[in-house]
């Protein structure tokens, strides 16, 4: 039985890395005695699949994680109670918002998610100026940016990766950035806007899966856990 969890990461804990988060989750699963399925072999590890890495320093309202519960214990796990149980076993700042059983054949998050919504705060910049930079970027036919990949630098057009970008509140950008074929990072967006721009705070607000022209979240937030048992039945 596969369970998908949705959680937030806010506050000081944002300075931990993706790998740090993986360790925190493993300890939380052990603390709550959640009967997970383990990989076989020399050093058995619980079968946990993390979604797209959040950059160190980034906050998030929409992180996801898939875990596989041991088949023999599947009936004993109260999925509705998981968010509360896990949140108490996780560090302050990490809060599990929802949990639901998903189809065993559901593709991985990394494979399925097509874009992410971000809030990016840029300090010390006039609102008007930020708005102009954003609209210039959106209306540009192409935006060439030097990006590093596996040790070497290539120049790529990142414009197709910017699905939307607007300056909303004072010094804050709202944007949606593609994750396929290669994820565009908020820091790269800022560099594309103007090379010296630095984010004061980056927060992932959503992850989106585009399916048949519509956007859906990997796990909608206000789902009733029981009713959501087969929330992804349609997708499979």
């Amino acid at each position: 039985m596969k369970v998908r969890l949705r959680y937030s990461k806010l506050g000081k804990i944002r300075w931990t890395s993706h790998r740090d988060m993986a360790r925190m989750w493993e300890r939380a699963f052990r603390r709550t005695h959640l009967p997970l399925a383990y990989s076989h072999g020399f050093s058995p590890r619980p079968k946990v699949s993390f979604g797209l890495a959040l950059p160190t320093g980034g906050e998030s309202l929409g992180e996801y994680l898939d875990v596989e519960v041991a088949p023999e214990a599947a009936g004993d796990v109260d999925v509705a109670a998981l968010p509360g149980r896990l949140s108490t076993a996780l560090p302050v700042g990490v809060e599990v918002a929802a949990a639901a059983v998903i189809d065993d054949r559901t593709p991985s998050l990394q494979h399925e998610v097509t874009s992410c919504g971000w809030t990016v705060r840029v300090d010390g910049m006039a609102h008007e100026e930020l708005r102009e930079l954003a609209s210039a970027a959106v209306s540009a036919p192409q935006l060439l940016l030097a990006r590093e990949r596996k040790g070497h630098t290539t120049t790529e057009d990142v414009r197709p990766g910017i699905l939307s970008c607007t300056a909303e509140d004072e010094g804050t950008l709202q944007c949606e950035l593609a994750t396929q074929p290669r994820a565009l990072r908020p820091s790269e967006l800022l560099r594309a806007l103007r090379p010296d721009l630095e984010a004061a705070l980056v927060r992932r607000t959503h992850q989106w899966i585009e399916r048949d022209g519509a956007r859906v979240e990997p796990l909608a937030l206000l789902l009733d856990a029981m009713g959501a048992r087969h929330a992804h039945g349609r997708a499979s």
């Binding site: 000081k12 804990i13 300075w15 931990t16 890395s17 790998r19 740090d20 360790r23 925190m24 493993e26 300890r27 939380a28 699963f29 052990r30 603390r31 020399f42 050093s43 058995p44 160190t56 320093g57 076993a89 560090p91 302050v92 700042g93 630095e198 984010a199 004061a200």
Partner: protein, 651 residues
């Protein structure tokens, strides 16, 4: 008293590993400061990932936060990138718990486990906004304290540290708090600093360097004498007599980011009487005080339940020597609560097949590395250092390990030991080679990883009189070994930088004059000197030259019996004549047995303090004789001439 977090957070995006600075660990306390509470800032003067697991610091952190009259927070040396930003933005040293400035505390207390961190101590004091030299501090400045193993020769840091704690810290922190609390309540008026230091100098186990004068005759130290009649001539270490009264840490910190020793740690005993002559830890922490097996079990099961760790380390100086180690290990491995998934690691394993037997019990759950430390390459050498491992013990361990499926073994050795010849050095290659041959009988993929460190003579040990090898000589010996194993596939040789060994030697047995050297290295930017990418031997050589001090005299010179040693006024309980006799015995390659199971040698560690060895079971550990041929079934205890007490018999 406000949080510096809004000024710290903008720096974090610009540094490596920002999680070093956020705190938020599971087990972190929620300290509530108050005017009537003495505030301790506990510091580990190395990077967070090295300092966080330190058990000494964690024990005091809990004890101090449990007391109604104290509050304690933690800090670690900011890495060089963070330090540069802090200096640029004028952010002072801060606690990781509530991100308070160091100046909000009454004491900045360092744990010193290695000499090469001394320059980091100066750097932390400076970042705290406190003058690095103790004599320049006023009543507005906090008190700089230090404890840990290096405090057993406090003199190189005497210029910078206001007070040292000698020995176990659990009890003495209360006494220090009392004196500092009065100082705090009195409003730290002008001239009060001298008074509080005088008061602290009278606390047993506390050494206040400024209350003592070092007297020289030319180059020669004549004495370190108290400046007041009510200050003790000799500071005796503090020793807790029963570890069972101190089941700490109860809430071990679980870091959010990667650190060394990232697992549950439970201290199963303190002290060691194997009597290895190079080992400062074994000499200064006597006698043996074992924790009862019930308490070990409780600490393990509660600790695992609370932390979510799947590995526990049973820590001590020689864990296989714990009475009843098999039962404790078996209890954890087979505990149904652990679901058969908890790994156990035993640091500092004795070398024999029996020990491998315990390791294979553990390996049912998870196979961990096997590390042994024969230290010397030949039986003669090991008798000199009193590490009484016979070749057959090591080969027995290898046979047992490889036949049970291990493919690698780690061996630790020292070079530069007293009386060492090239044959002794080459003996290391021989041992490693034979272990590979034993392994080949069972598997084709054998690796014997062989680590070689340079020996640094330590204060309060029988080798404190020995002249350390020069880095050139150590390098020659390493090269000898490297050439010897060049064709041996299966032997992976690693060695420690001999130049760093030299620098450690400068600080290890230095006197007060070394303060100038440490300050010079620090001012030249020499922090994190135990990190190879930061270490620079030229800083140390330049500093010695600039201070007019001789490396030969401090590091490489043999000392005489009647020489006044810079740490003679600090006592680990060991009689100086016991150490000298043991040194002479070493030169004759004479071995002494573990005094837990024999009549007393009167080293002074028990008798001087009216305490005894405390053991958790009345059965000596199997295989415990370790090559001495000692019959552990005889001369049993409790009672008789053997000063051992069974923990179960204590009131």
């Amino acid at each position: 008293m406000t949080s510096l977090w809004p000024r710290i957070e903008p720096l974090l995006a610009k540094v490596q590993k920002p999680a070093r600075y956020i705190g938020c660990e599971d087990g972190a306390q929620a300290p509530v400061h108050a005017p009537n509470k003495v505030a301790w800032l506990l510091a580990y003067p190395d990077a967070y990932e090295i300092g966080l697991p330190n058990q000494g610091l964690q024990i005091l952190y809990e004890i101090l936060n449990e007391r109604p009259d104290t509050v304690a927070e933690r800090t670690y040396a900011p890495w060089v990138d963070m330090e540069a930003l802090m200096r640029e933005r004028r952010v002072p040293l801060f606690s990781v718990d509530t991100h308070r400035a160091a100046s909000d505390f009454d004491l900045l207390a360092f744990n010193l486990s290695a000499e090469l961190v001394y320059t980091n101590l100066l750097n932390c004091v400076d970042l705290a906004g406190v003058p690095v030299r103790a004599e320049e501090r006023g009543p507005e400045h906090l008190l700089v304290a230090a404890g840990g193993h290096c405090a057993f020769n406090p003199e190189p840091l005497a210029d910078f540290v206001d007070l040292f704690v000698i020995g176990d810290g659990e009890e003495v922190v209360a006494d220090i708090t009392e004196v500092v609390g009065e100082w705090k309540a009195s409003g730290r008026t002008a001239g009060s600093r001298e008074r509080v230091l005088h008061g602290l100098a009278k606390v047993p186990g506390v050494y206040v360097p400024s209350m003592y004068d070092a007297i020289y005759d030319g180059d020669r130290l004549v004495a370190v004498t108290p400046r007041y009649p009510d200050v003790p001539e000799r500071v005796e270490k503090r020793t807790i007599s029963d570890l069972n009264e101190w089941p700490y840490p109860k809430n071990q910190l679980v870091p959010l980011t990667e650190v060394v020793h990232d697992r549950l740690n439970v201290e199963i005993f303190r002290g060691c009487t194997r009597g290895c002559r190079f080992c400062q830890a074994g000499m200064i922490t006597r006698p043996v005080r074992e924790r009862s097996s019930e308490q070990v079990r409780t600490m393990v099961s509660q600790g695992l339940e609370r932390t979510g760790y799947d590995e526990v380390s049973l820590t001590s100086l020689s864990s296989a020597d714990y009475s009843g180690i098999e039962d404790v290990v078996g209890g954890i491995v087979n505990d149904p609560m652990c679901q058969g998934s908890v790994g156990v690691s035993l640091p500092s394993l004795r070398v024999d097949a029996y020990t491998v037997g315990i390791a294979s019990e553990i390996a049912k759950v998870r196979r961990t590395g096997l590390t042994f430390a024969p230290e010397g390459g030949t039986w003669r050498m090991r008798q000199v250092i009193n590490k009484l491992i016979r070749e057959e013990d090591l080969y027995g361990a290898a046979e047992s390990a490889f036949s049970q499926g291990w493919q690698r073994m780690k061996l630790y050795f020292l070079v530069g030991l007293p009386t060492e010849t090239d044959d002794d050095v080459l003996g290391i290659a021989e041992l490693a080679r034979k272990c590979v041959a034993i392994g080949r009988k069972h598997t084709n993929r054998v690796t014997i990883s062989t680590s070689v460190g340079g020996f640094v003579p330590k204060p309060q040990t029988p080798f404190q009189w020995f002249g350390q090898d020069t880095s050139g000589e150590l390098q020659r010996k390493v090269n000898l070994l490297r050439d010897a194993v060049r064709r041996d596939r299966g032997v992976a040789l690693k060695w420690h930088d001999p130049r760093a060994t030299m620098a450690e030697g400068i600080a290890s047995r230095g006197d007060r004059r070394l303060g100038r050297v440490i300050e010079h290295v620090w001012r030249a930017g020499g922090t994190f000197q135990e990190w190879s990418e930061q270490f620079d031997v030229r800083l140390w050589e330049d500093a010695m030259a600039a201070s007019g001090l001789s490396q030969e005299w401090y590091v490489h010179r043999h000392r005489d019996e009647d020489e006044v040693l810079p740490w003679d006024h600090v006592s680990a309980g060991l009689h100086k004549d016991f150490l000298w006799q043991d040194w002479q015995e070493a030169l004759r390659a004479g071995a002494v047995e573990d005094c837990r199971w024999t009549p007393c040698y009167d080293c002074g560690a028990c008798t001087g303090f009216g305490i005894e060895h405390v053991v958790a079971a009345t059965t000596p550990p199997a295989g415990g004789s370790q090559g001495t041929g000692q019959d552990l079934g005889v001369g049993a205890f409790p009672g008789g001439s053997v000063p051992v007490q069974f923990v179960g018999s204590r009131a």
